[in-house]
């Protein structure tokens, strides 16, 4: 009987003490670093959401590596006997991972905003440059390589804008930089050509002043052709009365040097003849006295010093004629006006009316400022 009671009391003690033992065992179990790991994971997710893997890659990769190290360390600790586990290292890795991820997110947001602003500013500048290139060189006969670079630069700018719209600022910026390099270099090269073209501006200015003074003193009509702006301007007593659009020879930059060079000459000329009906195939025509004495002198000098072949011819039959309005420079060196403009001009002028052809009536600085 005594033995029986002893067994009962043992069982009762076990039943009562078991939960206490379990609670004690649980209490003594080291706390896993779940909260720290969760914070790190969330920080990494937030960093990824602001594209830190793109804009702050180094910090983001460091955060990922530290997170992985934390997981490895955690697994290693979990393989040890439960009461020998120490999660300090795991918590350390997790904490550093979180801090790197937060830094990456902050850095990425700043970088992204900064990049977006830089891209937008560059778009404004490059689109302005692109428009300026069109204005200055749209009809300017640039060499093929420069044209090719401008064309590629513009297409890259467009590709960049599409990437920007997709939110891919990094790729957009890369394309934009390539575009900028092409357009800027081309612009500088083309501008240098243009500066060479405008070297004769002081001479053109003298011709313009003389033409207008003569028009004032003789109370008669004078014509000025502005090659750069493609204008035919009609003056009476020094005041402009009419302005017509003009089309030139395709190789209009610079002075005419020889027959067949498709250049429109520059100089002070007079109308040498008027033709209409069956006498011209271009509706109506005003023949100029090209070549004048200056043209002949320059041509002979070039032949003499060998810059032109001895077989070269100076050319002639430069006219202001009709059938213009095609929107392109298409003549052999003549000046083409629309037939309606030609009707007006033909009526106003006579044989001997001065026609001054200049590279530009406005200096380069003023053109660039426009």
């Amino acid at each position: 009987m005594k033995k029986g009671w002893r067994w009962v009391s043992v069982i009762i003690i076990i039943i009562i003490s078991a939960p206490l033992v379990i609670l004690l065992l649980i209490h003594l179990t080291p706390e896993p670093p779940a909260a720290g790991m969760e914070k790190a994971r969330k920080a990494i997710a937030e960093a990824e959401a602001v594209n830190a893997s793109t804009y702050s890659r180094k910090l983001y990769d460091e955060a990922l590596a530290l997170y992985d190290s934390a997981m490895v360390s955690w697994q290693r600790q979990n393989r040890r006997f439960i009461y020998f586990r120490n999660f300090d290292e795991v918590a350390g890795y997790a904490g550093r991972s979180e801090s790197r991820a937060l830094e990456a997110a902050e850095n990425s947001s700043a970088m992204s905003t900064n990049l977006e602003n830089r891209i937008r500013k560059k778009y404004t500048i490059l689109n302005r440059l692109s428009a300026e290139i069109d204005t200055l060189f749209g009809t300017y006969p640039l060499n093929a390589e420069i044209r090719n670079r401008i064309s590629r630069g513009k297409l890259l700018l467009k590709e960049s804008e599409i990437l920007y719209d997709n939110g891919d600022y990094f790729s957009a910026y890369r394309k934009l930089t390539d575009s900028e390099n092409l357009l800027t270099a081309s612009y500088e090269h083309a501008s240098s050509d243009l500066k060479d073209y405008f070297k004769a501006y002081s001479t053109w200015k003298k011709w313009i002043d003389k033409t207008l003074n003569d028009s004032r003193s003789s109370h008669s009509y004078s014509i000025i052709i502005d090659k750069f702006s493609r204008k035919c301007l009609v003056y009476l007593r020094g005041k402009m009365k009419y302005e017509f659009n003009a089309e030139l020879g395709s190789n209009w930059v610079g002075n005419k040097r020889l027959k067949g060079d498709k250049a429109t000459p520059e100089g002070m000329y007079r109308i040498a003849g008027k033709f209409e009906g069956g006498k011209t195939k271009y509706y109506k025509a005003l023949l100029l006295n090209y070549p004048n004495d200056d043209d002949r002198e320059r041509f002979l000098s070039e032949v003499k010093n060998g810059t032109l072949p001895s077989t070269a011819s100076i050319g002639g039959l430069i006219e202001i004629h009709g059938q213009g309005g095609k929107g392109v420079d298409w003549t052999e060196g003549c000046i083409a006006l629309q037939d309606k403009a030609m009707d007006v001009l033909y009526r106003l002028v006579r044989k001997g009316t001065p026609v001054t052809i200049v590279g530009s009536m406005i200096d380069l600085q003023s053109i660039l400022k426009r």
């Binding site: 379990i22 779940a34 959401a49 997170y67 997981m71 600790q77 979990n78 590709e159 599409i162």
Partner: protein, 202 residues
């Protein structure tokens, strides 16, 4: 003495039984990881980046939860298993969605490629009709250069398309198409100005 030994063994047995209640669901983890790899192979990161990021993040949470359970005296992987099943489904969906999106982009590239080639051909025809007057085509040099640039860009896009880089090909084609359309309009305007009639077609 006999009783003390018995009590000790009973306590150890109880701890052993209670601490081995849950078993790490390795098969489910492997299956989910395989599904994530499959989604990655299907370029989910490129075509459905948000979906794929969510899957990856979800897997990170699960692996962390696995370790939490592994750290416990009494393990319970029931919740982990449920989450693994959900993530597996998400990963599979990401792979399917990526494939669908990829096909959609591919179709868009094909359509745009056909369209742009038609515009390039038309531009070639229009160029022959563009006003030349007494001159050759020298004055249309700028436009010809742009056409050559567009054609080169289309060739590049074709290369990207052949490599399966449909997104890159599509972005390139969009820019080229805009340029080709611009040239088309310019040419038609020039022809209309010269002839008084606008060419038909696009």
């Amino acid at each position: 003495m006999k009783n003390k030994v018995f009590m000790g063994l009973a306590a150890i047995a109880m701890v052993a039984v209670l601490s081995s209640c849950g078993k790490k669901p390795q098969a489910e983890i492997d299956a989910t990881n395989a599904a994530i790899t499959a989604a990655q192979t299907a370029e989910a990161a490129v075509y459905v980046p948000d979906e794929f990021t969510a899957v990856q993040d979800s897997m990170k949470t699960i692996m962390s939860e696995v370790q939490v359970q592994e750290s416990k005296l009494f393990k319970n992987f029931g919740d982990v298993k449920t989450k693994l099943a959900a993530t597996l489904t998400l990963a599979n969906k990401a792979a399917v969605d990526a494939a669908a999106k990829k096909e959609e982009v591919k179709q868009e590239v094909d359509t745009m490629m056909t369209d742009i080639k038609a515009v390039i051909d038309e531009n070639g025809t229009l160029m022959k009709r563009a006003p030349r007057g007494k001159e050759g085509a020298a004055v249309l040099e700028a436009m010809k250069t742009d056409m050559a640039t567009v054609a080169a860009s289309v060739t590049e896009a074709q290369g990207l398309n052949d490599q399966g880089k449909y997104m890159d090909a599509l972005n390139k084609l969009k820019a080229a198409k805009e340029k080709a359309d611009g040239i088309n309009t310019e040419l038609k305007d020039a022809i209309e100005k010269a002839t008084g009639r606008r060419p038909g077609g696009k």
